[in-house]
Amino acid sequence: MTDTIASLSAYDDASLDQAFRGLTDEVRGAAAQLSTAETQENFRLDWLGRKQGRLKLLSESWLKTAPPEAKKSLGMRFNALKNEIEAALAVEPAGTKSTGPSIDLSLPGIRRNIGLEHPLTRTMREMTAVFAALGYSVGVGPEVESDFYNFEALNFPPNHPARDTQDTLVVADQDTKPLRERLLMRTHTSPVQIRSMIESAPPLRIVIPGKVHRNDESDATHSPIFHQVEGLCVDTNITFSDLKGTLDYAMKAFFGSSVKTRFFPSFFPFTEPSADVQISCPFCGQKGCRKCKYSGWIELLGCGMVDPAVFAAVDARRIENGLEPAYDTKKISGFAFGMGVERIAMMKYGVGDIGQFYSGDLRFLSQFV
């Protein structure tokens, strides 16, 4: 290493080239020797050190004293030399120095427990997101409903067996009230459809996730408490083929693009025509498995075109509420659909007992990462 720098005598290209060629050779020679972090650090200090680095000294003795017209060509050569030095430093030396004894990489890392989303919340969120992408807003409503919203406006005749206390959980002391005002645990999320239509004129697209109740015996696949996701689309000239296309799209989005749907006639008081929808089993690709009971198909949805009687009930209530009627069945049509969240979650996650969803058993819940 040299502490003193020979001064430059001439600034023509040849003289400069010669002066810098010597420096470049020196850099390359030293760079070839850089085998450890230590030698690399020494090399760095020697050339790039802030106070005593040779580049600094060179710059002071050569650049600052150079005539202005030579500064540009000198500067270029300085930069080239500097690049050379930095390139040498960018190469990792073979044996990097370690700071202590090597660690046991196999020990478990320090992890904070994070909490998990409930599998039903997750299923509802994912299903809701599929419909949100189709332009559906989320709708919610009360879990304790009146007969009007849960049954009457949905075209259940007054003597329909669903109203029976064997099927429906009712609030105490309702017998003295008019039928339509009697309070009960909603048996489906469909009352939210009624509430939404009474509130808003079409077009309307809502998806309704929520908790519902029925007076059912508990067993491995039935619970008096369960959840539904329903949807409603009302506009001018909504067709049955729109219903088919929408649900086909949604099932593909949720279960995978290879899933197929097929529709069977069914019966619900609040839709007509009504359909049950099966999807091709996404778990076995229709080869047959336990989840599809070896049929290749899984029944998943109920749906249909909104019954004109429902629109009529909605308009009647709109008029009572001082609103314009807005659901003229000559112009307006719509479809509705619904599915059970537990059933989907049970299939998707392989849950054998529906009761586990409501147990709060952390051993169960902590599996849904």
Partner: protein, 710 residues
């Protein structure tokens, strides 16, 4: 219900698809064949699952009509008797005495009985059925009774109309169809005795009730082996009357099943003739006199003579949309198919005065068809749902989020990231739990038909569920639990139920001491930290945790009311020891319930970035002894009261108590306090810092603190 494919095919001579294809095609059109079982005779047994609105299709002829409609093949008339009757012998209609008068019948309850037909058959021999009827009953699992009764059941299986045979010689005078007398008693075919009300309908003679109309025949007038003469009944009864009667007496029979869902008033005479033929074929004898047929005109207006329905082709196409069939004009269901399907189902169509519309006369066996939409559904069903295209409606309007969606998401995600897992518990709780956990001043609402004694109330709080879930985990040896539930709670009265969203947190186990918090308090402070974190995402007035006005479930001195400004947001604390013991909970548990409407009244914080100071921060620690009566809130308030804008942080670093009173006297604690000073404008000067330090020490001395070395 079971169906024999061979029987079905007797009505459909031109049908050329095999049984499996037939089953599939029927299923796709809503006449669901759940199972197809091969029979030794080469035919199949179809296990049907037919929705209750299609009671007309719960028999062989009804399903044959569906098949004829689907395939567009001819359907033989029932009168052609190509069924059971034919095989038993070619019996002609009893025409000889047709002019003579029939058995006298009177309908005294026309609101309940719309039609009654009666035919006398004399000289029968009642034995067991044999031949085809016996064979088919065996295949269908239909219980044989006697040749005469089996004919009525065979006819019911064939065409779905319930009929009845009486032992004519037990009758005293005319048939009278009337309401029962209050308290009138009758012994029915199943041997049971029933006491009737005036809302029950009976088929009676001049002296006594013979049977409970539309539900079950009577014991005394039944056909037995000694019966020589028979009266055949085929009638039509009102749906609601039969439903009520069937419920009242707990009798669900094939007859009541059909009548309460709507039988075919137009089919009574045919049913009577077919049964009469069958009886004569099976039991011998001859028809005597004409068939009596009493019809109530009001009932006809509700059944056979209903007003026509207007059906617009445009409305069919507008509602059903696009089909996948090529060659159909515009890919909509074409008018000729609409006509073809509806006619095959028994409708009569004629062009209406409105262009593009039909006036449709409805078949008497399809009381489920009443409106235009019912006909549109029939068109879609027969056409085949899966032959419609998959289209998407065009999108108009925006997507509106629920007002609290973002707040709800924030609460859930904050809690999850802090290690709390979401749970869902029962909507109901016991009366005892409701009373114990309801928020101060609130009442719970009882259920009318609770699922169990422990679920008698709508939960007024999420805490009963939370406590239950902690116990479940504890008994299953889960070491530590952090659960939250976000759900609806219900208060108010049975007259008016008030719902609101609520949030509960529940935990036990695995809380470690820190330098400022003792192990015995750590669980509470972990809960408090979670609550603080949740609330910190909202723009609230300053939040305090107060020890006053606590609910009864919190152990004294071990919990707090969370208050923002003047509003109570909720409560948190340790469950009382007494309640823990009552519930057999081994661990100390902490619970929290937040009233979300109170929290959600505040906006979520919107991030706002401030430029971090470019100047160095300076830490200063202070060590003091305080009496236990001096709280952190006192210290905090005293130092904030100094108004030093540059004091950007103030926190306890270590708190120490010595039970033995050596290092720290009893009744006191040592507090290591850390302050951080920083200016946005300049590098802090030593003299500024010294002055603040002196103010801090002064304030702490004022609180009664004893200064120790820093």
């Amino acid at each position: 219900m079971n169906i024999l494919s061979k029987w079905l095919r007797e009505y459909l001579p031109a049908l050329d698809v095999d049984d499996r294809q037939l089953a599939e095609d029927l299923t796709l059109r809503g006449i669901a064949v759940e199972g197809v079982h091969a029979l030794p005779d080469g035919g199949h047994l179809f296990e049907m699952d037919i929705t209750t609105n299609r009671v007309d299709a719960m028999n062989h002829y009804g399903i044959a009509r569906e098949a004829a409609t689907i395939y567009g093949v001819p359907l033989l008339q029932l009168e052609d008797r190509r069924v059971v009757h034919a095989e038993l012998g070619n019996v002609d209609v009893p025409a000889a005495d047709a002019a003579a008068s029939g058995y006298p019948v009177r309908i005294d309850a026309p609101e309940f009985c719309g039609r009654f037909t009666a035919q006398v058959v004399r000289g029968v021999t009642v034995t067991a059925s044999e031949g085809l009827i016996a064979e088919r009953f065996a295949q269908l699992g239909q219980k044989p009774i006697s040749n005469a009764v089996d004919v009525t059941n065979a006819n019911w299986l064939a065409m779905g109309h319930p009929t009845h045979v009486f032992d004519l010689d037990t009758l005293e005078g005319s048939i009278v169809v009337r309401r029962a007398h209050a308290g009138e008693k009758i012994k029915l075919l199943d041997g049971s005795e029933k006491t009737l009300t005036t809302d029950d309908l009976v088929v009676a003679d001049e002296k006594k009730a013979l049977g409970l109309a539309g539900v079950m025949g009577g014991w005394d007038s039944r056909v037995t082996e000694t019966t020589k003469n028979i009266l055949v009944e085929a009638a039509w009864f009102d749906q609601a009357a039969i439903r009520a009667s069937s419920r009242r007496h707990g009798l669900h029979t094939d007859a009541s099943h059909r009548f309460e869902r709507g039988a075919d008033l137009g089919a009574c005479a045919l049913a009577n003739r077919l049964v009469t033929h069958g009886v004569i074929a099976a039991c011998g004898g001859e028809a005597v006199g004409a068939m009596t047929d009493v019809v109530i005109p009001e009932a006809e207006l509700r059944t056979t003579k209903r007003p026509h329905v207007l059906l617009s082709v445009d409305q069919v196409q507008r509602l059903l949309g696009t089909t996948i069939a090529a060659g159909e004009s515009g890919h909509l269901v074409p008018p000729d198919l609409i006509e073809q399907y509806l006619q095959a189902l028994g409708c009569h169509l004629r062009p209406s005065s409105e262009p593009g519309s039909y006036a449709v006369t409805l078949p008497s066996w399809r009381l489920d068809l009443e409106r235009e939409i019912d006909l549109i559904e029939e068109v879609a069903r027969v056409y085949g749902y899966n032959r419609f295209a998959d289209t998407l409606p065009s999108f108009s309007g925006g997507v509106a989020a629920l007002p609290n969606a973002a707040k709800e998401d924030t609460v859930r995600s904050v809690l999850r990231s802090l290690g709390w897992t979401e749970a869902i518990s029962s909507t109901f709780c016991s009366e005892e739990d409701a009373a114990f956990f309801a928020a101060p001043g609130e009442t719970a609402v009882p259920m009318g038909n609770p699922l169990s004694a422990e679920a008698g109330m709508l939960r007024p709080s999420l805490l009963p569920g939370a406590a239950g879930m902690l116990l479940l985990n504890s008994t299953r040896d889960v070491r530590a639990v952090r659960l939250f539930e976000y759900g609806t709670v219900f208060t108010g009265s049975t007259a008016s139920v008030v719902e609101r969203p609520s949030l509960t947190l529940a935990a036990y186990g695995d809380a470690a001491a820190t330098k400022t918090i003792a192990a015995s308090d750590a669980l509470f402070f972990e809960l408090k930290g979670a609550v603080e974190e949740v609330i910190s995402h909202f723009v609230t007035a300053p939040v305090t945790f107060r020890g006053d006005a606590l609910p009864q479930w919190i152990e004294a001195g071990r919990g707090a009311r969370v208050v923002a400004g003047d509003t109570t947001l909720g409560w948190l604390g340790e469950l009382t020891i007494a309640e823990r013991e009552r519930r057999k909970l081994k661990e100390t548990v902490v619970l929290c319930e937040l009233q979300l409407p109170a929290l959600f009244a505040h906006a979520l914080k919107q991030p706002l970035a401030l430029e971090p100071s470019r100047f160095q921060a300076v830490e200063r620690d202070f060590s003091f002894l305080f009496a236990d009566t001096v709280t952190w809130a006192n210290v905090d308030a005293a130092l904030r009261g100094l108004g030093i804008a540059e004091m950007i942080s103030l926190a306890p670093v270590e708190i120490f108590r010595d039970a033995k009173g050596k290092a720290v006297p009893q009744g006191e604690y040592s507090l290591l306090l850390r302050t951080v000073f920083q200016s946005q404008e300049h590098t802090l000067r030593e003299e500024e810092i010294t002055a603040w330090q002196e103010s801090v020490v002064g304030a702490l001395l004022n609180l009664g603190g004893k200064h120790r070395a820093a």
